[in-house]
């Protein structure tokens, strides 16, 4: 019986062996993928960092500490390949059982059960706990099995999860190297896009036990390091591409988080900035007079910063902006860090800003940051994801200064910068508020975030304490590319809405509140008095004029009477004379006088 069936001629398995170490020490040149094709992972940010995904037909090493997200990333890579790229995949699980991995991944909604029927194969390769090891062994048996499986399902992608587990069983480092080489060569020979994960602290930890992975990092074409650290008690996850042969990539650490549908990686800013769209379109601020002050409103895609002490109506201004955006039919995301989303709606209703209706019709999405916990990086990734999902054109963050309290400063600064860049690239109008510390000496309360430098428009809200009153003042500190008013206006909140009023300056002091009201009233009274006086004068003049007109009329009438009288007199005189002459003729007739002579006589008498 002994030896039966063992005469089969081995294939590649014999190629690399202890004795052949010299041979394998030669660097193995992979059959270079000439087209430089990439295998997308389906993680947007990651694909952006690597310029399209993992190197196609080559091997990638994924290193990371416990709980850093190695398994999720690799599984997502397989799922994306199987569902979107027509590349079935195999998952070799050395550590966790495939059942547990599938159950854990169920929450991401990847429909693993469906995929496992045909396009996704899980191989449980956990070393059994009762396994006894005696002498040297190799992985050629497993590779032979995988080969059969690959042929059967035409797999193009393969993941070896937690390779370190099986390597740990090998007696010496030479054997470990040999098996890693075997695996690597096998992957290349089969033109598979391979992803090998291993537990390691990346390049930070380089103890003797890590040497195998250090060696692997040199061997593979692409190495990605996942890092999970805690800064000031706040968890931060970072991802870094350490190397990527034959391709450019973003070399910086990129934050990521494990979201509802897998990994969410925050892509670089450099690439985003290039395609930033510049628009000269104006976006109303929601307050008519503020638009006038700004020469028409904010610019589309601008970053607006509103700073102020607590209670200076920062949220109200944000709310007015959000309401105006929704009224125009633009999708808006309102992220509130201080209060609950519903509280914001209720509070803003008191100043006539009705956001509830837009929440109902889905145009406005309110996100309360109480539900998002973590580092500034986490916030950034979450906000970006939410905004993208919501297709937001306007984004409100109230207040952003909360970030400076979470995580370290340098990080927070870069987060604010990246958010500004990102929103610019997407053409999203960003409005953030920043709380000024009451006790702070620096007037620039946003210093820690340095967003004041990045903001295009900076509106400052403050209190003016005067005559026992606190009044809100609004001024525009800067507004790039816009002619803007230099005046301080008084911000008035009422249940009818938000309005801005001119502030009076008297004796070098700006008057607000009651004093402004008094001043206004005094002016009003003055105007009224002047009005009345003018009216009186006019009435008087009217009367005089009327009187004169009447008199003129009387004289006219008198004149006419006189003329009539005169005419009458003339006529009376004429008729008298007529009568007289007629009377004389008659008399002559009666006397029978000479007609000719006496007539002359009579005429001379």
């Amino acid at each position: 019986m002994l030896g039966a069936g063992s005469v089969a001629v081995g294939r590649c398995a014999t190629r690399i062996h202890f004795a052949d170490l010299v041979k394998i020490m030669r660097p193995i040149r992979p059959p270079l993928a000439k087209d430089g094709r990439k295998a997308p992972t389906g993680i947007d940010g990651f694909d952006e960092i690597t310029g399209g995904g993992l190197p196609h037909d080559r091997t990638t090493l994924l290193l990371g500490g416990p709980g850093s997200g190695k398994t999720i990333l690799s599984l997502q890579f397989l799922v994306h390949g199987a569902t979107r790229c027509r590349e079935p995949g195999i998952f070799v699980a050395f550590e966790e059982s495939s059942e547990r991995i599938a159950a854990n991944a169920e929450s991401f909604g990847w429909k693993l059960a469906e995929l496992r029927k045909k396009k996704l194969f899980f191989l449980d390769a956990q070393p059994m706990s009762d396994l006894v090891q005696s002498g040297d062994f190799d992985l050629s048996g497993m590779l032979a099995m995988l080969e059969a499986q690959i042929r059967k399902m035409k797999a193009r992608r393969i993941v070896f999860d937690a390779l370190d587990v099986v390597l740990a069983l090998l007696p010496d480092s030479a054997a470990k190297r040999r098996e890693v080489y075997r695996l690597h060569e096998w992957l290349l020979a089969h033109r598979l896009t391979g992803l090998i994960t291993a537990k390691a602290g990346g390049d930070e930890v380089s103890s003797v036990s890590q040497q195998t992975f250090g060696f692997m990092q040199f061997m593979v074409d692409c190495a990605v390091i996942l890092n999970h650290s805690v800064v000031n008690g706040i968890s931060q996850r970072n991802l870094r591409v350490q190397k990527y042969r034959g391709s450019s990539f973003d070399e910086n650490e990129s934050p990521f988080l494990i979201g509802a549908s897998g990994l969410e990686v925050d892509a670089t800013r450099t690439q985003a900035r290039i395609n930033a769209k510049v628009s000269s379109e104006r976006v109303p601020s929601g307050i008519a007079r503020l638009d006038t002050m700004l020469g028409g409103g904010y610019y589309r895609g601008a970053s607006v910063l509103i700073t102020g002490l607590p209670g200076t109506a920062k949220t109200t201004l944000s709310g007015a902006f959000a309401e105006a955006a929704c009224e125009r039919g633009e999708h808006t995301l309102f992220v509130s860090f201080d209060s609950d989303a519903n509280e914001v709606v209720r509070d803003l209703e008191s100043v006539g800003i009705q956001l509830g209706r837009f929440v109902k019709n889905g145009r406005l999405q309110l996100a309360s940051a109480r539900t998002i916990t973590g580092s500034a990086e986490t916030y950034l990734v979450r906000i970006k994801t939410l905004a993208t999902e919501h297709k937001a054109r306007c984004l409100v963050i109230d207040p952003m200064s909360t970030w400076s309290k979470s995580g370290n400063d340098s990080n927070t600064h870069s987060v604010a910068e990246r958010l500004t860049d990102w929103s610019k690239a997407k053409g999203i109008t960003l409005l953030c508020t920043s709380l000024l510390e009451e006790m702070s000496d620096t007037p620039d309360g946003a210093a820690s975030l340095q967003i004041s430098r990045l903001a295009d428009t900076w509106i400052q809200l403050n209190y003016l304490m005067q005559a026992g009153e606190r009044n809100r003042g609004l001024s525009i500190i800067k507004s790039r590319g816009t002619a803007h008013s230099n005046q301080v206006r008084e911000l008035i909140l009422s249940d009818g809405g938000v309005t801005l009023a001119d502030a009076y300056s008297a004796g070098g002091e700006v008057l607000m509140g009651t004093m402004r009201w008094e001043k206004e009233r005094a002016e009003r009274v003055e105007t009224e008095v002047a009005d009345v006086a003018a009216n009186l004068k006019r009435v008087k003049l009217d009367a005089e004029e009327a009187e004169l007109e009447v008199r003129a009329k009387a004289v006219q009438v008198e004149l006419v009477a006189k003329q009539v009288e005169k005419a009458l007199l003339v006529r009376t005189t004429q008729s008298l004379e007529g009568a007289l002459s007629r009377g004389r003729s008659r008399m002559r007739e009666l006397r029978g006088a000479d007609a000719a002579l006496p007539a002359r006589k009579a005429g001379s008498q």
């Binding site: 069936g5 006894v132 062994f137 048996g141 059969a148 099986v166």
Partner: protein, 96 residues
């Protein structure tokens, strides 16, 4: 350990890989000296029968599985450390 107990082994090998060849030789030697006449060895070549190895959950080669007597035991490697192998198989080292 009763003298009569018969042993059934299954050895998974990867073709003629050096480790596998060595394991085959080591197992033969061990059986001949410790279990003369009461052993049975089945050799499975994973290159020839990958599906079977897959079904049996064999990932490292060579792997020796002791099927009978129970309990089932698995030993991975060239079986070069005879003492350890005997111990895990439930056999005592034969006094020299």
């Amino acid at each position: 350990m009763t003298r009569q107990a018969k042993f059934k082994f299954r050895l998974y090998v990867a073709g003629e890989a050096p480790n596998s060849t060595r394991a085959t030789a080591n197992l033969g030697a061990l059986c001949r000296s410790h279990l003369p006449g009461r052993y049975e060895i089945e050799v499975v070549d994973v290159f020839r029968e990958p599906r079977r190895a897959l079904a049996d959950g064999i990932f490292m080669t060579p792997t020796l599985v002791k099927l009978v007597p129970s309990p089932i035991r698995r030993i991975v490697g060239t079986l070069s450390q005879t003492e350890a192998v005997l111990l895990s198989l439930g056999l005592e080292a034969v006094p020299a």
